[in-house]
Symmetry: C2
Subunit: 207 residues, 2 copies
């Protein structure tokens, strides 16, 4: 047994819109009950079926701006005219307690998180092809033609940010993508730079 309580991992699932990070995240949370999902706050309208406090905390502009003032966000951004933000307390508390926290977040947000948590595990979800990405953005059906083109262009540009991440997972099968993410979490816990005290403890016979 370890003498010191190990902090949890911050697992950041990110990628261009339409890559399927939402679907993968949902499947991952279903399989790995010990993971804690960070719920974002947003000022955008709920899509059909989205539930307050489960999918998002839906806020008015005024409420959101008040939270910014109170330094309640780990990061926040304005994307496509809406605010999105990651409430700070939930993440910090869980990591401190040794729980692994999952963040599903756009690329802009992930890069801000990386500045504060360089030790996080940054996973870039890739669509299997640009053609497939276009189909997925279209299928969502909640956007106008203009918005679809805007999203696709942006997704194309965003692929350049993959180099700032630790891992890349192609979403051609949700099940396989989830298995890969599970493996990444296990492997990260074995990384030498996350276990610096371990061999000292073994030497000293504390373990």
């Amino acid at each position: 047994m370890l003498s010191k309580k190990k902090k949890g991992l911050l697992i950041v699932l990110s990628g261009p819109s339409g890559a399927g990070k939402g679907t993968i995240c949902k499947a991952l949370m279903k399989k790995e009950k010990n993971l804690k999902l960070s719920i974002s706050a947003t000022t955008r309208q709920p899509r059909s079926g989205e539930i307050e406090g489960k999918n998002y905390f839906f806020k008015s502009e005024e409420e959101f701006e008040k939270m910014i003032e109170n330094d309640s966000f780990l990061e926040w951004a304005k994307v496509y005219d809406h605010y999105y933000g990651t409430p700070k307390d939930f993440v910090l508390k869980n990591l401190e307690e040794g729980n692994d926290v999952v963040l599903e977040i756009d690329i802009q947000g992930a890069l801000k998180i990386k500045e504060k948590f360089p030790e996080g595990v940054f996973i870039f979800i890739l669509p299997p092809s640009m053609e497939e990405l276009k189909n997925r953005i279209k299928k969502r059906g909640t956007e106008t033609e203009e918005e679809i083109i805007k999203r696709f262009k942006s997704a194309y540009e965003e692929l350049n940010y993959v180099s700032r991440y630790n891992y890349v997972v192609i979403n051609d099968s949700v099940e396989e993508a989830v298995e890969k993410i599970k493996a990444i979490i296990i492997a990260e816990k074995c990384r030498v730079d996350r276990n610096k005290d371990l061999y000292l403890e073994i030497k000293e016979g504390l373990v």
Copy 2:
């Protein structure tokens, strides 16, 4: 599908003698039939049950020194008055063909491999405790009292080298250790720095 054939991973299982890397390696190879095991050459006497060409290539001193002359080793070393070496051809050929190659090797050998293959996956197998390590060295029963003390002291010193590795896996249960190594292999294949061409190919629509 990728347009370029990806090279295989070189997976180096290493650790102090008595940590159980041999047992773990055997269990891993049994579970993962696609992995290719590199067989070492040695001048030490076969232990009971060891088979030529399966456990080692057993060589005379003269034969081994000839191989050194012919530059046939990826690395070689003299440990406890015996030569050990990793034949070069098998490893290079398999990596080139896209096969993952496993090397089970002492720490001295692993560090030499790392100089030539910094992109290898270096896994340090730790015993659950120093007490357990002592028991395991004793149980092996093939060494004299003097040799046991020599091995234990050396194992104690060798723990310092863990920082040169990528991963550390504690061998308290062989099954769990094998699962961790399997996860590490999956995760490593997802690392961004091993997939640099991938997003370019996706952008260009080659995938």
